[in-house]
Amino acid sequence: MKSRTIKVDYLARVEGEGALLVKIKGEQVTDVKLKIFEPPRFFEAFLRGRKFDEAPDIAARICGICPIAYQMSACHAIEDAFGIKITGPIRDLRRLIYCGEWIESHALHVYLLHAPDFLGYEDAIRMAKNHPDEVKRGLRLKKAGNEIVRLLGGREIHPINVRVGGFYKTPVKRDFSALAEELKWARDTALATVRWVATFAFPDFDRDYEFVALRHPDEYPFNEGRLVSNQGLDIAVREYDQHFVEDHVAHSNALQSRLTERNSYFVGPLARYNLNFDKLSPLAQEAARSAGLGPVCRNPFQSIIVRSVEMVYACDEALRIIEHYEMPDKPAVNVEPRVGTGYGCTEAPRGICYHRYRIDDRGIIVDCKIVPPTSQNQKTIESDLRQFVQTNLLLPKDKLQWQCEQAIRNYDPCISCATHFLKLYIESE
């Protein structure tokens, strides 16, 4: 019997190191393995014995692409342990810096990492030869997101201004005036991005996914809300460990998450959108409809449209926050450590990022657990590939391989943080 292997030794345009192996026997896909060989770094081990106020800066180093997600989840978890609830302008500034990270990360993925797949280029630099205006505008959009993070955080990567309880220093209102003008441009460009990506050709593909995201009664989720799914999950963040487990499989340095009651699930922009469409701003909803999307989208290849819609929302929301901002009296609330366990879950650009910390009476971390988004999507990516390869067996091998890579990039996997993720092998026996 004829068998084949699709093998990608080093997946490109993803953050981190991974590989994919697909085995095909005759007409059947027999095995799909997403290998994560990103070396383990042991954050949960060396956070033990550190002081609570070091956690946001240390956790940020898990991922250079979405450090804000790690800082925000760490802060919220530790504040939960201390019984602190942040409100008012500090809460708004946290949403604002998160808007910056979504815009920066989504623009990077949409323009530099994913669009080249749809247009048949190996990278954005080659794409820039024929599409210079698009690439330039993508870079400027990314820069606008980074400007928010830089203004509030001090720098784009591993910002230094976030702390448990708030910030070290908060800006005065006029600091935002130049940024607000650029964000108006960015919002228009995000709308143009939605129109542009909606013209791409999308493979006909969907599955009956369980989408998991935060849901908040009043807003599109960043830092707060309950964990909900389209299959009945509705829990508080502190109940996470009762519903989700991590498995350790031999082929991966990343732990794979699953729901205890069912199995694999899907986090990220598509999940957030499907569970929170009603909370998007009218402009973002309108942009989605004009791109032909309903309130639910199950085709992961169309996540590039959803990511663009989320950029519209993030620009809109950032402008709203800036307009209403008044500098708080103090940049942070008082933080008094106490014994306890705290839970935090926030919406990283790639999906929910869960943290749990147990802290002793001196404010020292006794143990902690960190679940990044990519490890939660890992099982779903493998299942997608199994179905995708099965239905596209007749494609020439190089084309099939490229589309498999593209199917993985749908999830904007961030492998460095999932280690505890990616090479593509398609093997036919």
Partner: protein, 258 residues
Amino acid sequence: MALRKPKLAVWKFSSCDGCQLSLLDCEDELLAVADAVEIANFPEASRAVVKGPYDLSLVEGSITTPHDAERIHGIRRTSKFLVTIGACATAGGIQALRNFKDVKEFISIVYARPDYIETLKKSTPITDHVFVDFELRGCPINKYQLVEVLSAFLNGRKPNTPPHSVCVECKQRGTVCVMVAHGTPCLGPVTQVGCGALCPAYARGCYGCFGPKETPNTASLSAWWSGLGASERDLMRAFRGFNAYAEPFRRESEAHEK
């Protein structure tokens, strides 16, 4: 005949990807850089791979697995210049915290099946394994320093990255000393510049992400910290951060252990 463009390669070892992202974060310079060089190997940005040898290799991350300890030699052999970027590649990074503990215990804390994990006892900088032409500091690196390094190597000159302390930059930007004026413990006096003296400008003490400056007097700074109420454990943790395994910081943290 047109001149051949120099070939640039970017390599990743154990890291967070932030330093190589700095190249993509050069939004205003990226297309110009791509015009000046042939991006021959940069998996985070491109699926295209051009064979070596390479004129300039940027190496991110530290060596933590037996496979990576082999791989770096192959990269050195195909690279005319090899420049390490960031605290992981130049000092072992935050993951070098394992170097002070038993890595087996670390594995068992994080992974259900320790037998699936292959890792070295220590996280080490690239220079412990191969000759490095230049080390760019920072956690993360400063993107303008990265452009300076690219420009220097492509033009055959030495990069201009000052080795003095963060204090000098605080004075240059007119930041009031957080340690003198507010009693906030700060690693600025022993830490190399490059960040733009950010933390003091945001009213917090420097936490040393660019690593030790040349000839740092860490013992003296520790005494000042003690005067401000820092405990031995506080001092150990302060020096045991993103550049924990850089020699002067390692020695100082060990002096305060126990």
